[in-house]
């Protein structure tokens, strides 16, 4: 990997940290989504919250939506490293990239749906609740593309034939597990209370904080991988010592 590319890959790893920070602060804290309001909350109560906090909710969802772009740059940097691991065809590297980019669409769209609720907080409370439902159902059930991304990355990282792999294989297996844990979201729409509702232990605490912790770890190893690939490039392109001239 050339020094220029390595520098950009490092930036893409940092963009992952930036996404988690911005999304956590704006969508999570200012957007009042840590934890989210329960599915069985009366519409009038939810509308009252949106009316009382419309200003902070708007900035929360606006910046939250924009921050999702950093998720795409992370996926692109990861893609460039995966190309150095996946020897044949490189289809899984592209699957990871497409999965990552499509995840951006779901997360961005979710922010804009919530923003629509905060944009006219004086509207009918039933409509605010419908937008809130739509946002959470979209965010939770859009996991298919993210699962695709994590599994593609996992398979490539597990198949890394280097003596010391660029990504630890336990991290790859953990990513596959995290992506499969998303499947619990399929039963989430049946519940408005309890551990399987959208703010319950399985669809929320595990399915949100697990991936964030995993992505942070992947980004840390991306920084290390960029250093190693740059060093590999430097050693492959080091000027060779001139041959001693022979005289007859």
């Amino acid at each position: 990997m050339t020094p220029y590319e390595a520098r950009l890959v490092r930036l893409s790893a940092w963009s992952c940290f930036l996404f988690i920070l911005l999304f956590g602060v704006f969508w999570g804290v200012l957007g009042r989504n840590i934890p989210p309001y329960p599915p069985d909350m009366p519409a009038a109560d939810l509308a009252a919250v949106y009316r009382a906090h419309a200003a902070t909710l708007r900035i929360g969802f606006s910046v939250g939506a924009v921050s999702c772009a950093f998720l795409a740059t992370w996926a692109i940097g990861l893609f460039r490293i995966m190309l150095k691991i996946e020897r044949d065809g490189q289809i899984l590297s592209y699957v990871q990239l497409v999965g990552g980019v499509l995840t951006v669409i779901f997360t961005t769209y979710t922010c804009t749906i919530l923003l629509a609720a905060a944009f006219r907080p004086e509207q009918d409370p039933a409509q605010i609740r419908m937008l809130f439902d739509l946002a959470w159902l979209t965010l939770d059930l859009g996991f298919g593309v993210t699962t695709m991304q994590y599994i593609a990355f996992g398979v490539v990282a597990i198949g890394d034939e280097r003596e010391k792999p660029l990504f630890p294989k336990w991290l790859a297996w953990l990513g596959i597990w995290v992506s499969l844990e998303f499947l619990v979201e399929i039963i989430m729409p049946y519940f408005r209370t309890g551990p399987f509702s959208w703010l319950g232990m399985f669809p929320y605490w595990l399915a949100f904080f697990g991936p964030f912790a995993w992505m942070t770890s992947v980004a840390v190893w991306m920084l290390k991988a960029a250093d190693r690939l740059e060093a590999e490039y430097a050693s492959e392109n080091a000027p060779r010592a001139p041959r001693p001239q022979t005289t007859i």
Binding site: I158, W170, L174, W177, V184, I187
Partner: protein
């Protein structure tokens, strides 16, 4: 799981303990075990607060089918353990047959589980019938998905990785498959008493 012969990681370094299969795969097994532990914990907490309701609904389950399924699963684990022993330096043809036997027993378990679900749903015990049946369908359903993945994986491993010529990579893959299958078996050993027997 029994240790395998000359290709296993512990055999490479005799006297040194090593996990069967690929050590990193155990991260997946540990995380999955953690998920089920949380499920069991949540189940036990809800059960403690609705004890009479849980016991009343539990008593309507078709425990006979679950007993047969327990025997099937234990037998499948035994067959796979013997297969792993034979895969390294033993009778590889027998090992392949035993891997396929494990898959077939897993498929039997799944078929009986579907019959059990149909009986419960016909009796009016659906997924949304009550707290106990919610847990019953979720816990056994997630276990069933794990089992079906295991059946597919073992069928693939039997066909592709237990060949006449021995390779260390194939042995590691078989050991990973066996570790996963034993996890499914172990989880059932918690699910069976918790959902069918506990009073």
């Amino acid at each position: 799981m029994p240790r395998v012969g000359n290709q296993s990681s512990s055999a490479v370094n005799p006297g040194v303990f090593a996990l069967p299969g690929e050590p990193a795969f155990w991260t997946f097994i540990a995380a999955d075990s953690g998920l089920f532990a949380l499920l069991f914990l949540q189940y036990c907490l809800d059960r403690a607060s609705h004890l009479q309701g849980f016991i009343a609904e539990q008593s309507t389950l078709a425990a006979g089918i679950a007993v047969v399924n327990t025997v099937i699963l234990v037998t499948s684990s035994w067959a796979l353990a013997v297969a792993v022993q034979h895969a390294s330096g033993g009778d590889r043809r027998l090992a392949r047959q035993l891997v396929f036997t494990t898959s077939a027993l897993g498929a039997c378990f799944a078929a009986l589980k579907v019959v059990e679900y149909i009986l419960e749903i016909r009796a009016g015990h659906s997924f949304v019938a009550g707290t106990f049946f919610m847990y019953y369908f979720i816990i056994t359903g997630i276990h069933l998905v794990h089992l079906l993945i295991g059946v597919l994986a073992l069928t693939f491993i039997g066909a592709r990785c237990v060949r006449d010529s021995e390779s260390s990579r194939d042995t590691v893959i078989l050991e990973c498959g066996a570790s996963y299958w034993h996890l499914i078996d172990l989880l059932w050993m918690f699910i069976f008493p918790l959902t069918y027997l506990a009073r």
